[in-house]
Symmetry: C2
Subunit: 363 residues, 2 copies
Amino acid sequence: MAGVTLEQVALEARVSTATVSRIINGTGKVSARRKKQVMDAIEKLGYRPNLVAQSLARGQSMNVGVLTQDISSPYFSQMHKGIEQGFQGSGYHPIFVSEEWRDDQDHAALEVLLSRRVDALIVLGGYIEDDVLLKISRNTPMVVVGRLVPGLEKQCLQVNNHHGGLLATRHLLDLGHRHIAHIAGPDTHYDAVERMAGYMQALQEAGVPLNRQLVVEGQFSEEGGMRATEKLLKLGMPFTAIFACNDQSALGAQLVLQKKGFRIPQDISVVGYDDLSHSAFIYPPLTTVRQPGLKMGRAAAQCVLDLLSEKSPHLPAFHNELVVRESSGRAAGSEVIVPAETATLAVEAKPVQKRKRASKKDS
Amino acid sequence: MAGVTLEQVALEARVSTATVSRIINGTGKVSARRKKQVMDAIEKLGYRPNLVAQSLARGQSMNVGVLTQDISSPYFSQMHKGIEQGFQGSGYHPIFVSEEWRDDQDHAALEVLLSRRVDALIVLGGYIEDDVLLKISRNTPMVVVGRLVPGLEKQCLQVNNHHGGLLATRHLLDLGHRHIAHIAGPDTHYDAVERMAGYMQALQEAGVPLNRQLVVEGQFSEEGGMRATEKLLKLGMPFTAIFACNDQSALGAQLVLQKKGFRIPQDISVVGYDDLSHSAFIYPPLTTVRQPGLKMGRAAAQCVLDLLSEKSPHLPAFHNELVVRESSGRAAGSEVIVPAETATLAVEAKPVQKRKRASKKDS
DNA sequence: CTGTTAGCGCGTTCAG
DNA sequence: CTGAACGCGCTAACAG
């Protein structure tokens, strides 16, 4: 950690350390002559301020902790990038730490940040208890993304996942689909639950009864999406569309469907959620609800900056946006509005036939 | 940045700060009785060591800088995760910063890390000049991943990209392909160049002349892969397989091919490189060369740890591994070894016909 | 074993 | 304008 010190610069420039400090930080007036001396000395010695010492002296570390779920997650990475961009040029820098191990009662991840004396905290979802966050927020500016902490509403950046679920499902309904399956996320995830609520509301609005059997859990992952889809197919319950709670599970769904010979969207439509960076490039390109991850990250950073400069934080509203691509299309035979059947036991049901519209047996 | 101080703990426990420090750090012997007093005080006050002050006093920040290309890149994210894992429990923590803006003569990213006095540096590829790195490495332990810095060989973690290119291309050759296109990466990227070299060597070994027109640049991105593939198809030059320099461009290639009606792998085989987390789930699942990103990240971290503890660093060799999935298959009509034609102007060539094997006109 | 005392590198009064 | 001196929170000799 060695390096040239302020004192060495002062010595070289034949001034006091205070003067050098003033010049570096632009604090107080300094004569042009001395200023030049000092600048020369800095240049000559290759001086670089020691941020650690500055931190201790000033009482702020210029670091902002970011508590994330998984640093490698395609979903969060957009936010990470936005956060990084948001702090560009501010002097602050984000320090990322993954929550990872959930059964961690000591909140080791948090500890890493707190002991490093981060000046603020950005929390991306996660499992840390509300009251823990609330307590920390009393001493440390905090912005929470994708989650609503009671008592901290003004610093919670949210997108309306409920609305997104609504958009996705309405889109499918508009295309004539009446039997829409849903691949849900873990019910521990606020986002997932909200998306599903949107799905249910859309159905209700359209007068389409909810068929609980068409709702299966997909764990937010590709594998989960695959398993869920296989389960749906085995059910033998007809459906012409799937709304997956995120793109990852939608990808898994598409894979299974295509492997089984279903054409997307001719046989079955698929809609995802998140608009991951690769979702536009899979085949067929995925219709999805875009999460403005980059913007959200930037906004979170900006909000932190506001908080740190005592300005009243401004959290813009974020809207999910439906991105229609090629994985969704009109329901086969959608000219006929099929009366929904009661959600009876799927005893007589046989596996959906391949290469045929899953809804055919309805008509 | 406020918080309980050592001194307050000492006061509460009626001992000196030195004693508290000893207990916290396990330095020196302390009587059990005092130890309990101190532990109680710590507990009562909720003391948490100030890492900033520790850093200044000890002369080490317990932070390791990671200079990456893009914090949101699906390719690098595996390494990021590996790095984070590698430092788990070591007391050190990675600080990521994206190089981002290439036309940055001041190396702002580096500056962020250096002024924070990171104890070591992990450099993931990038454009920072060799001599700059070399100079920094004299004061700061450094590990470079995916790049060879002359004079720093022992700290350069590499996978044999050349070998990977060889594997991928041989695989296609083994399947009977003789007209193999290559979507190259930017020639500023060491990795990309090496992969292409492997491709060329494999062709040579097999006695298949290189057709330079079948090598197009894809910029490591999905869009690039799409453009490259369109270009290839327009060429009218027959080919039955594509080896893309990374999965992202392979994804773009698959998309274009499928949109144009080609079946993968029946009409055209595709092989990628990296094995991104979603590559197993796209349709058809991508045959690719796996980069052990997670392991590499862990190894880089371990190497840094070794360097920091003066142990002789150990960098294991990493091998690329071919992962055969469903995007590659036997070349159509591969029972006939087609004599390679001379790479003449593609004047008489017409666009490859859809739904037909691109190689048909050869046979 | 334990307390006292210097620093670590820099910011910031407080007198000139 | 400028410099001397103290403090940030903690570690590390150095004496007891």
